[in-house]
């Protein structure tokens, strides 16, 4: 009898063990796959290498890291005000039935596959922006280095950042909205009792959930960094260190997705090396986000 009771949990536990081992498996897999590359090239040279060029056998990750930081950072910059404002509108300004419907629409946006957002970016948004916004920026603000471009291109860092921003915002909105719901009614009442206006009260509520907002945006940033297909469709896929937002670039994920399936030997191993960099960055954002949120739960939100 006891034996049976135990054995079922050994059976179930083996699956839980499998689940727990997936992450170490990923890490080991990255190391294993990249080992061939790092036996020939040093890791330091790899991440500080300025050029990625197959014919010259040059595998430098810096341009891809640069592209990732610029596009994901810009996406975060776009998402931050919009997601906070949208979450406030939904939880504090709109009546409940409307906010509920909108919540379903926001969930729907979050559920659009990245390849469909990419399709929209490449066939609709990119061409539209290049004939309107980008043209305007180059002609009128072209003296700024970030808006300089030799030719008018529809697919560049800015398009990528806008597409990314649109993909990560719904997620940030729903997390921030949930956080706003968690603000105790006592805090709101205290603020109103001080004679504050609606937006002053909202300001206090936002400062109350600041760690929650930070955690949400950190996860959103992680998603932007990890996104591959949609970015690769609209970023132009030319590695460079160009400062201009209107010029193409490459990122860690776009190099992998564009080349991995056909790559062999050293190139494949180098691409897995890029994956290792992506792994470290991704896990860091996730862990930092969790850490901040747990600290919040251990503090005044108990």
């Amino acid at each position: 009898m006891v034996a049976i009771r135990k054995s079922i949990f050994i059976f179930l536990g083996s699956f839980a063990l499998f689940l727990a081992l997936i992450l170490p498996f990923y890490f080991f897999g990255e190391l294993y796959g990249a080992s061939e590359f790092f036996s020939k090239f040093s890791f330091l040279d790899f991440i500080s290498g300025r050029e990625w060029s197959l014919p010259e056998q040059k595998y430098g990750a810096l341009q891809a890291i640069y592209g990732t930081i610029i596009t994901a950072g810009l996406a975060l910059l776009i998402t931050t005000p919009i997601s906070i404002a949208a979450a406030v509108a939904m939880s504090e300004l709109l009546p409940e039935y409307l906010s509920e419907r909108l919540g379903m629409i926001i969930d729907m946006i979050a559920a659009i596959p990245s390849v469909v957002v990419g399709l929209w970016g490449i066939l609709s948004l990119g061409p539209f922006l290049s004939s309107t916004l980008y043209k305007f920026l180059i002609e009128n603000l072209g003296f700024l280095p970030i808006f300089q471009a030799k030719t008018l291109l529809a697919y560049n860092k800015l398009t990528a950042a806008l597409v990314l921003g649109y993909m990560i915002t719904p997620f940030a909105v729903s997390v921030i909205k949930e956080n706003l719901r968690l603000v105790p009614i006592e805090i709101k009442e205290a603020a109103y009792a001080l004679g504050l206006t609606k937006w002053e009260v909202i300001r206090i509520m936002l400062s109350y959930i600041k760690p929650g907002i930070f955690a949400a945006l950190m996860l959103a940033l992680g998603r932007a960094i990890a996104e591959a297909v949609a970015v690769s469709m609209v970023i132009g896929n030319t590695c460079s260190f160009s400062v201009s937002l209107l010029e193409p670039a490459c990122t860690l994920t776009t190099l992998i997705i564009n080349n991995f399936a056909e790559a062999t030997g050293t190139e494949a191993a180098a691409l897995i090396g890029l994956g290792l960099v992506l792994f470290v960055i991704s896990i860091s954002t996730i862990l930092v986000s969790r850490l901040v949120y747990n600290k919040l739960l251990g503090g005044y939100m108990r």
Binding site: Y192, A193, L194, G195, T197, S207, G299
Partner: protein, 262 residues
């Protein structure tokens, strides 16, 4: 004839979700005195208090009718046509459960109201104001070395006194207390009671209290509310020693009131 009145409530009806909570209350709260509101739980005490500074409007599906006149700077204003922000600044509120902004520092808790309301602008003035109000609330000596610490680290009693200082910082004329000593230890209860008595020199104090004994200790006037109606109102000594209404007597002697029809 009205100079001595701080708040005048006329035929106040409040209902939530069509259920009538206050059934026509008229009462004049005297100025610069402590008025205690007593009554069994669910009798509508908190709703009465909240309708004075219109915090009641935060409750969904609430309907208020009747008049509330508030004496601000010697003139009477209709609370429900006044700007609600202005009203709430002049009529402070201290809640049953201490509710400082837990994430903000002790100092910021006091200064945020005056700062956002534009009462004091520069940092030095705000700090001076905070010191003054913390002293008034009897908290200064305990927190003067930790003003920048987050407020949630204070004990419950300290938090409640911080909330009082926060309300005082807006320089109100009337302060409403909703059972402010619930759940606090004897030491803090005593300090807050002393504070309420001291405050009547400058402010009008209206306090809901959960115990008749406490009302006896702090109040100049007592109002007894039962089932949404004002049953008795008068000087504390009279109400406690020789109540006119039989219900009041039952309540202050701790007898069962349930089921008694008004």
């Amino acid at each position: 004839m009205m100079e001595n009145v701080a708040v005048s409530v006329k035929d106040l009806h409040v209902s939530i979700d069509k259920k009538e909570i206050l059934k026509g209350i008229s009462i004049d709260f005297p100025k610069c005195a402590v008025t205690a509101i007593i009554g069994p739980s669910g009798s509508g005490k908190t709703m009465l208090l909240r309708s004075i500074n219109r915090l009641i409007e935060l409750i969904p599906r609430v309907e208020v009718s009747g008049k509330v006149w508030v004496n601000i700077g010697g003139k009477f204003h209709d609370a429900y046509t006044l700007d609600s922000s202005y009203l709430r600044r002049k009529v402070g509120y201290v809640f049953q459960k201490p509710n400082p902004f837990p994430h903000l520092s002790i100092l910021k808790n006091i200064t945020i109201g005056p700062m956002l309301n534009g009462i004091a602008k520069n940092k030095k003035d705000l700090k001076k104001l905070a010191e003054e109000k913390l002293k008034e609330a009897g908290l200064w000596d305990e927190v003067k070395d930790r003003l920048n610490e987050a407020a949630w680290r204070l004990s419950g009693g300290q938090q409640q006194r911080l909330c009082i200082a926060r309300a005082l910082a807006l320089e109100p004329e009337i302060i409403l207390f909703d059972e402010p000593t619930t759940g606090l230890d004897l030491y803090n209860t005593k300090r807050i009671e002393e504070l309420m008595v001291r405050l009547k020199e400058k402010y009008t104090v209206i306090a809901i209290t959960h115990s008749v004994d406490q009302a006896g200790r702090i109040a100049d006037f007592i109002a007894f509310i039962y089932n949404g109606k004002l049953i008795e109102f008068g000087p504390a000594a009279t109400v406690l020693k020789s109540p006119i209404n039989e219900l009041t007597e039952l309540f202050i002697t701790g007898k069962v009131l349930d089921g008694v029809k008004v």
